[in-house]
């Protein structure tokens, strides 16, 4: 089967960095569709840099990134924007919800960016909120939600475009263990049901153990 993401000898050197140690050193990996993969490592290990490059939020200094058979370095920044919008979903540690907007507006943001009409956005948004158990909070401002609710909102937002791949950056980092467990159970359940690929960046070994496999990063290299 064609891997959804294939990375060949990725190297990232930050020009501004004090030491000339690369943040990422010759990393190669491939991720199959439907897999759940954990990228683990200590802070500063380069795991976040790896995720950013895999998610096309950053470009590697050297190496190749192939998404669904397409070489990423051939794409313009507008093409990459569109690719992220259609194929990827994101869950962040800090949630990044717009506190002043309603849950419904937050969950439908990727569809708004895509240019979907308001009526369709509403219908899909409400269905998505229903799925993560936030139907009652649809018209509530996102700022009024609890931490666990916010992260469920983010999962709904990540899933609403029916993406092929979800990147989750420390998704339980800002949650207590009970809420963290519930959130991840939800994510894994939806992942299995929809057959979505999930890449989770974490330093939590328990969370990593729930994934199909783990990639450990240390000093910018896979170990």
């Amino acid at each position: 089967m064609q891997p959804i993401i294939q990375a060949v000898s990725l190297t990232k050197i930050y020009e501004s960095a004090a030491s000339d140690m690369p943040a990422l050193n010759n990393v190669s990996l491939s991720i199959q569709p439907g897999e759940s993969v954990a990228i683990i490592g200590k802070s500063g290990s380069g795991k976040s840099t790896l995720m950013h490059i895999l998610a096309t939020l950053d470009r590697p200094t050297e190496g190749e990134l192939i998404i669904d058979g397409i070489h990423a370095h051939n794409l313009s920044s507008a093409d990459l924007d569109s690719l992220r919008n259609k194929k990827f979903g994101f869950v962040f540690q800090q949630f990044f919800v717009n506190a002043r907007n309603s849950s419904l507006e937050n969950v439908t943001l990727p569809l708004t960016i895509m240019g979907i009409a308001l009526s369709e956005r509403k219908a899909r948004g409400l269905a998505m909120l229903e799925m993560v158990g936030l139907a009652a909070q649809a018209h509530q401002k996102a700022g009024e939600l609890s931490g666990g609710q916010k992260q469920r909102l983010c999962i709904a937002r990540a899933l609403i475009t029916k993406p092929e791949l979800i990147f989750a950056d420390e998704p339980t980092g800002n949650l207590d263990s009970e809420n963290g467990k519930q959130t991840m159970d939800l994510l894994f359940k939806l992942q299995r049901e929809e057959g979505i690929t999930v890449v989770i960046v974490t330093h939590d070994p328990d969370l990593a153990a729930q994934c199909d496999r783990s990639i450990t990063i240390k000093d910018g290299k896979i170990v």
Binding site: H52, A55, L57, D58, S77, A78, D81, S82, L83, R84, N85, K86, F88, F90, F92, Q94, F96, N98, R100, L109, P110, T112, I113, M114, G115, A117, L118
Partner: protein, 419 residues
């Protein structure tokens, strides 16, 4: 992203920080108000001047004067003295009888009427005497009359006068009554001449404010006033030359060139309007400059507001970019926010200036412009007002371009780490 969604996000962002937005809009508002009011005054004056000059309009006439080439203290060049040249008081170059013949003989000139320089002492109907200025009524001149008629060109005893000279009774009652105009003859004796009032003129800013007498009466008075004064007898301020009705634009300018080469300045009515318009336009440019400076200051306010707005929403921009919003979308959101500040400030400024302008116009019409019927001090034609609004929006958009560009270039990773 859809335009409707971009607009919605922009408007929402705009009113997120209400006080800041309000203050920035206020700055734009002041600039727009200044600009719109000065334009209003300009348009009011221009419209009035144009209708008034249109009213004066005798078609196919040139006002001819001798070229003013006399030595004056600020002239640097030295010219030869010409004994034959006519001069009046203040070394004003005048036209003589030979000049009249010369102009009359020019190709294309059909008729020449001398403009007599006459001095009235007063006008009276028996009791009080009032100072008065007389103007020669040229046939075909479009004098706006309240009642009665213009003077008969051949009459020696008719007069029409501006409405302010009607001291008692109605304008209609004055028609047919007699008055006396008085002038000094060249010997210094005051001579009163009885004249019949045949019309009452509508007063205006440009003409019509002098007593109107026929060319023949003017000639008569002029003769009396210059008899035995060699310097002034047979001298005229200028002449009205009528030219061929069928003349084209080129033929007219050819005639003007011939007159100029012969030593005369010749102006059509359009030329005279042009000079007045130029003066008014000059004043308006200065006034508009004030408005423009205010708007320039407001533009810096817009830049500042937008920079703060971009700063506050760094992580929001980062999120949108991560979720696939492209640079164009992010740029548009902020640029439209800037243009909206221009729109609201400009709209408010234009609307308030129209309301204020109409109030001021009404006050002016009822007080110091009372005698000038049809003079709207401020006029607001739709197109220029719309132009002001669009111009301000464009300025705001340009002011917002720099912060918008900054937002569109934000690195999503760095933007998401912000907070």
């Amino acid at each position: 992203m859809r335009i409707a969604d971009i607009l919605k996000i922009s408007q929402r962002n705009l009113f997120r920080s209400k006080l800041r937005t309000f203050l920035t809009i206020a700055a734009v508002f002041i600039g727009a108000l200044t600009l719109s009011l000065t334009n209003g005054v300009g348009n009011g004056i221009k419209a009035y001047v144009n209708t008034q000059l249109g009213n004066l309009g005798v078609k196919n006439t040139l006002t001819v004067q001798a070229k003013q080439t006399q030595a004056n203290p600020i002239n640097n060049d030295v010219r030869k003295y010409e004994p034959g040249k006519k001069t009046g008081t203040f070394n004003l170059a005048l036209l003589g009888k030979n000049d009249m013949d010369k102009i009359r003989s020019m190709e294309g000139v059909t008729q020449v009427i001398p403009q007599y320089n006459i001095q009235l002492e007063y006008i009276t109907t028996g009791n009080d005497k009032y100072e008065a200025v007389a103007a020669q009524y040229i046939e075909g001149l479009n004098l706006e009359m309240i009642t009665g008629t213009t003077v008969n060109p051949d009459s020696l005893d008719e007069i029409s006068l501006p409405s302010r000279y009607i001291m008692s009774g109605t304008e209609q009652e004055a028609i047919g009554k007699y008055a006396a105009i008085a002038y000094k003859n060249s010997a210094g004796t005051i001579i009163e001449k009885a004249v019949k009032i045949v019309g009452v003129q509508q007063q205006s800013l440009l003409g019509n404010s002098a007593l109107s007498i026929s060319s023949r009466l003017a000639e008569e008075i002029h003769y009396q006033q210059t008899l035995n004064v060699p310097n002034l007898a047979d001298s005229y301020m200028g002449a009205i030359a009528q030219y061929n009705v069928d003349y084209s634009e080129e033929e007219l300018s050819g005639l003007k060139t011939r007159l100029s080469e012969a030593g005369y300045d010749a102006l059509t009515l359009e030329d005279q309007i042009g000079i007045i318009s130029q003066i008014i336009n000059g004043i308006l440019v200065v006034l508009n400059l004030f408005g423009a400076i205010t708007l320039l200051a407001a533009a810096f306010g817009i830049i500042n507001t937008l920079l703060m707005s971009v700063n506050e929403r760094t992580s929001e921009i980062g999120l949108m970019k991560a979720l696939g919003a492209n640079r164009k979308t992010i740029f548009s959101i902020f640029a439209i926010e800037a243009a909206s500040i221009g729109f609201w400030g400009g709209l408010l400024g234009v609307v308030v200036s129209i309301v204020l302008g109409n109030i001021l116009s009404n006050i002016a019409t009822n007080t110091f412009l009372k005698d000038f019927v049809g003079f709207e001090l401020l006029a607001f034609p739709l197109l220029p007002s719309l132009g002001v609004l669009l111009g301000i929006m464009l300025l705001a958009f340009i002011a917002g371009a720099l912060p918008s560009l900054k937002a569109s270039k934000l690195d999503p990773i760095k933007a998401l780490r912000y907070e």
